[in-house]
Symmetry: D2
């Protein structure tokens, strides 16, 4: 299916394209398009895209490390990743706060909501954190966890049944959806330049981020690491 291109190609990114990563039971992350390779950052910093300037990968890497260290981050905007992501509405509500992304989402005004909902895994039902008011703490006991999962699962099902009933009565999709829980899955195409994606990581990979969104960020970080290893190394070397 591949076609020839004269653009810069990232071999690592090519291998990641269209690979569907599963997150939790129903979540998905898939790299569906990208712009630029590690060397795009170096070329932009040199304000030059000429291929034969005698600059080696080693030159590029040094430059990328220095740009990051010196907080000259604008060249990092020349690389872009586009993901298809299936995620629960409560995770989506955090994603959408990153205003530099471009975003398209399923509309439940337009199509019916599918019957898939988030339920935490048995070993991942967490208690309220004892001191940090906004975080979760230790996992609940197996018994509590099972009880909680059952409650969540049944609530999801009942809400969905009501949703279907409303549709059958003839209620418009845009109104019927109001009963859907934020555990319902939606799907987005989400495109962000890598400078802002790294900023997203710095917030969403942090320990105070909710685990459910961290799980998404981790997969995307893994893809960045494979496709843009020099940029990732710069990022890991310290916060810009």
């Amino acid at each position: 299916m591949s076609e020839p291109t004269n653009r810069l190609v990232s071999e690592g990114a090519e291998e990641e394209l269209y690979k569907v990563y599963t997150i939790h039971e129903h979540g998905e992350v898939e790299l569906v398009d990208y712009l630029g390779a590690d060397s795009s950052v170096a070329r932009a910093a040199r304000t030059s895209y000429q291929r034969s300037e005698g600059k080696t990968a080693e030159h590029d890497k040094k430059l990328i490390m220095r740009l990051w260290k010196d907080r000259h981050t604008s060249p990092f905007e020349m690389v872009n990743l586009t993901f298809r992501i299936r995620l629960p509405i409560f995770v989506m509500r955090q994603h959408v706060r990153h205003r530099t992304a471009s975003l398209n989402e399923w509309s439940f005004r337009y199509t019916e909501c599918p019957d898939i909902f988030y339920v935490p895994a048995e070993d991942d039902v967490r208690s309220q954190h004892s001191t940090n008011k906004q975080m979760s703490g230790e996992p609940l006991s197996a018994a509590e966890s099972q009880k909680a999962r059952k409650l969540i699962d049944e609530s999801n099902r009942r809400s969905f049944e009501t949703y279907k009933e409303l549709i059958e009565i003839g209620v418009a999709r845009e109104q019927a959806r109001v009963v859907l829980p934020v555990s319902a899955y939606t799907q987005i195409v989400w495109s962000m330049d890598i400078r802002n994606l790294l900023h997203y990581f710095s917030l969403r990979l942090a320990p105070d981020a909710q685990k459910e969104i961290r799980d998404y960020a981790k997969v995307m970080a893994k893809i960045v690491k494979k496709g843009w290893p020099m940029i990732w190394e710069a990022y890991e070397s310290g916060r810009s």
Copy 2:
């Protein structure tokens, strides 16, 4: 409670400050702060904020009308409105797409969700539009409407009960919330410059916007009209 200021003051906006408008049963819109008056646009266009240049309100108005007509919209960014808004999550999900706004929202990781949910009014349960796939059409019959409202109300209540039960078991707020329906109310502080607010109006007051968000946009438009009558007149004179 008023204090003296040397800033430009909009008399109309002063009257609107802290006035709480109710939308549907539980929704609220309140202007909580603002920056600039009609004449701020004219002053910015003249790149001058000197008070005594012999420019009258009539000069300002002419200039504002011409700027809008000629699509010189950057001076309109010098006026800013900050609202407190209580709105259901499904309306919030449309609001948040306007990326030029500044936004703070209740976090249900941090505080418990209150027991208020959106249920459409009896004369406002709408059928699916017959031809436009993303819109609603005519109201349902009284009988259907009552049935739909009952279904929605009961679903909201049941979901909320499950939510409370999960909290009692000890599930962290950030996980318990997954069963909450998008009819649940959240609250935001939302700040936007008037250029982008007018763009928001052009999309959200349009006939193809969902009625529930249009009801919010209408109230904000009314406030703009009172506080910034020249800008509103320019906006109404035709799309920039």
Copy 3:
């Protein structure tokens, strides 16, 4: 030099890549990278990047036309063009106002300014517009035009000589540059999603834009037309 890619490829864009267009005497525009083809817009609108959904180019085109007409412009952000542009500082000062672009520029703190300056062509020295205060009007007579060009050319040269002299005395580049005229050429890498690029066109191809920047916009528009013919057709069909 081409390599295989699994990404969407625009054949028209591939032909435009690295083609250097000359503008005026010293200006240049070159497409150096791009993201996405016409069908990327349709795929984003469907929130799906699956290749085999049985959607033909005809389906895509219809959808693109409708999205534009209905002002659903977010899917157009999934296409991105990156240009290398050599342009005089006075044109750059207008370019940079488009805040949604990513931008890297030569720094005359870092490198010396090259000896190239804008001088209008003989048939393009324009008089002040008789009624519109911000525009130029008819061309000057041949005699006046020659005189003006001579004045501009000599002024450019003298300023550059002073610049070189300052450097020789040992003045830092960042200070020596203050004598450089805005006719001096700078170079940028400029990346913008196509939605915002079309907005740039709507302002910079307009009759009230300065001819010198319009000449740049025209070349970029030509490239868009070749690489993204459906999007261009939608744009031409009427303002979104």
Copy 4:
């Protein structure tokens, strides 16, 4: 001239309003409008603007410090400063790169350029830095400095004379301006929320920023310190 307002007022900011600070020989910075006080940040973080919640200034300060430390910076967008700034084009070209600002500028298409230009002060003509390619280093000797200043001053004057001559011949302002040096002064109205203004400070107050722009940033920082002392203290306590 003051009028009553029901908005939050910053006493420190009121004292700064319309105070014109001079920078170098011809530069100016003047706070011409503002939105919000220290407590606006706390109120936005609480998603509440109610005046009587029993929260004291001490509560607000603690909250502001914690928000900054925890990188919860969105509430800081609820405060806004609008400046009138007169600055040379080469400083403007750095200012304009801060894309979150709203900006209006004199247009030399519309009005004639005034006869004021930047010339470094006698003790501020700097040599090229010996190791850092983009920075200046030690001041030049008095003799070199005098020579450099004379060269710059004469070059400015000659360029301006040519500019006037071109205007007299009848060349349109938009073309005549091409001979103007980047030492020419322009004027802007520049509005930015304080979160992004603090980010601007972190870049433009840094030792690697050009001294000429640092001089502008310093004055604005002084104004922020007076008008928003808690926010300033949070900023100084460490980078967010």
